[in-house]
Symmetry: C2
Subunit: 136 residues, 2 copies
């Protein structure tokens, strides 16, 4: 169904695909809402900030494929594009993304926004690391 | 897995559940991105405006459960909360939502933002109408 959208030969071209980043933005936000809801025990959610995803991707080996001076917006987009790629190629599912994120998301109702961002970045980093093998 | 989040006895209480609306916001945006990508033939996406979802829900019988003076923000939230409820209770899946939306989304690259909003509202309306039977 999504073959034409994921016709990429290498990870660099995935990371620079602005269309995939737009789809991935929705995927990442939805999965984070679900994971956070599970952890806190009530339905909730919000947009995951670029800075959080940028921190996540910069801590992985994938980032060697990007220019070191890439700003947080583009680094975040690269993370989102990779997630869209993995989902569209059926390497990851919403349920395993939610599962993985929620296991690393050690937050509670009192966690500050700043601290939550740091913990979330680590959760997104782990998830990507566990799926790097699926990238071209 | 999501039982505690969907413990509602009637549609009014679903429509006023702000937590479900947050989860549903992610779901609706993700599915719309996918449907729009399918229709246009390239990956894309954006946030669905409250006004679009408000127009969709106001055209259905569900809206009789809301105050007629409800503003677009709250009407949009009600739509999103219903979608989260239907997904969490496994009455709808991402693939049937994308399927249904894309079938009604008669847009192309030249469609104006305003016209796309009207067409999208109709697509969201149809999808809800086809699933009203699953609501308590």
């Amino acid at each position: 169904m999504w073959e034409t959208f994921v016709d990429h030969e290498n990870v660099e071209s995935i990371m620079h695909d602005k269309g995939l980043a737009k789809v991935g933005d929705g995927l990442v936000n939805f999965c984070y809402s679900l994971a956070k809801s599970l952890v806190l025990g009530y339905a909730t959610g919000e947009k995951v900030r670029d800075s959080v995803l940028a921190r996540a991707i910069r801590s992985t080996s994938v980032y060697t494929h990007m220019n070191r001076r890439t700003d947080a917006g583009r680094a975040g987009d690269a993370y989102e594009a990779i997630m869209a790629y993995l989902w569209m190629t059926e390497k990851i599912s919403i349920s395993n993304m939610v599962d993985s994120l929620s296991k690393s998301l050690n937050i509670d109702r009192t966690t500050s926004r700043k601290k939550e961002g740091m913990i979330a970045a680590l959760a997104f980093q782990k998830f990507l690391e566990n799926n790097i093998e699926h990238l071209p």
